[in-house]
Amino acid sequence: MEKILEISNLRIYYYLPQGVVRAVDGVSFDVYKGEILGIAGESGSGKSTLALAISGLLRPPAKVVSGKIIFMGRDLLSMDSEELRKIRGKEISMIFQDPSTYLNPVYTSGFQVAEVFEAHRGGHAKKYLGEVVKLFRMVKIADPERRVEAYPHQMSGGMKQRVLISMAIAEKPKLIVADEPTSALDVTIQAEIVDLLNEIRKETGSSIIFITHDLALLLEIADRIMIMYAGKVAEIGRAEEIAKDPLHPYTKALLASLRYERKKRLQSIPGSIPSLIDPPPGCRFHPRCQYAMDVCSKRDPGLINMGGRIVSCFLYGGDVEGDTKR
């Protein structure tokens, strides 16, 4: 299958007065054409930072320290701002979490979507309003001709999110990065939005990176899933396989906390995420891991390739003796 995005050994740090926060610390993965890659992780796992980095939207004090982001064979990190601008919105687009704050209250929603066309086809946004009506229809916004003239505050949460989605698919991008697109919505609306994204993927062949803290959601919609913990990759694999046979202890714990109805008890994971300013040496998860071995507190396991699956855990190999590529 064709690879559209390759991330290798990406490190993104935030330089704050209290210290250097290692938000993304050596993450590598690929995205294939037409797939939905789910990225799951708690808050603080680095997933949102990753999303911004792919779109070239990182702002100081965040900085890409090392690594590569290769999109369709081009190195995004070496591009200047104008080249990146041409890619944003047209080949890589983003859907954000909270449509109320991510839409400008002073302009109509139709105008804001039309701006995507203005950015890449020239002219003034106003002349593309007809296209926007078609887009609205595609994302199933009722009465699109009227809605195009409506202001964001006149729309419901679900409708606003559809507006953001229509913005993201306007120029038929190869990659859509959706950062928690359903987290601010009611559960029923969530299902509709998720179905909508799936349909879009099938019709347009775009790949979608779907970022969320809700692993259960990903098990439904994603083709492959990447689990992140404290700025590092824990596990990557096909959704069905991870659901049936989780490898990483963190993944196992996450799944266990989902299946509490069977055990009739809420399973939570004891402990909390480590500080990203001064992470513990070795595997980031080891303080909370029930399988922790001696080596886990000394060295990072790195990424171990087990057929289709990638895990970062000494249980499955890794350089137990010598030096590991950190």
């Binding site: 919105g89 954000f96 704050t101 991510y102 839409l103 209250p105 002073v106 701006e115 890449h120 006149q154």
Partner: protein, 315 residues
Amino acid sequence: MSLARYVAKRVAQAIPTLLGAMLVMFILVRILPGDPARLIAGPEALEQDVERIREQLGLNKPLYVQFIDYISSILRGDFGTSIKYRTPVTQEIMARLPYTLALAAAAEAIAVAVAIPLGILSALKPRSKLSYAVSVASLVGASTPVFWIGLIFIYIFAVSLRVLPSSGAESPKHIVLPAITLALLLMGNLTRITRASVMEALGSNHVLTAMSKGLVQGTILMRHVLRNAMIPIVTIMGIQVGALLGGAVITETVFAWPGIGSLLVDSLFYRDYPLAQGIILFIVIVFIAINIAIDVLYAYIDPRVREILWRGGRS
């Protein structure tokens, strides 16, 4: 709700406030020591003359009747008669109003032309030397007495350098120093608010969305940052009109600028209370009117406010 209805609504809301202000002026004048009838009549007058004037002014009627008379005469445009000039107060005000308007307009124009660009620039480059200098300058500006800096300016430019005139209003050059002095009063606060407001707009989420669409920097700045930042800035400009009017009183006095501000101070000095009271009330009415205009403008530029009005809520 249409704009016209909103205007009508705001005006209706302002009426009790206006009546209250008139009541305050009415009370203040009654507190004044001395007998207004005697003041008008002069020290030489006979007792029956004073009595006649008292009758004319309606001073023998009960207070609430006097107040109603007062309101009705204001509504007719009669603000009383000046003791010193023996002409209607309205006439004196109208004669000198253009000067005050010119000064106020010039000062506001200078303040906006300087403060807003400076504020925007220092928001775009928050840790630069410019930003720091602007912060210091606006703090110092806000702590400087207007009357004092005006006098200093007079000394530097009129006395030492002799490039600008020190008082009066004969030529266009005469407006320069007073306008700059008055503008200084406004600039400090305006710069600070502009900077804060632009910085807040820069950090807002919809700017991130705009960037993710691939819009050009310039478009993002104009459409998504400045347009949104303007809302609090316009609010402050409206609030500042009060300081502008009050500051004009002082500035006109310092520079002997023939507007209604210096007329007010003179009238107090000469104990021409009808004139003083009339000018103050006039300024209050203008201030209320400007506040209504600012509110209407606010509703025009922020669609959310229009929505609140639609539902009939109090904003």
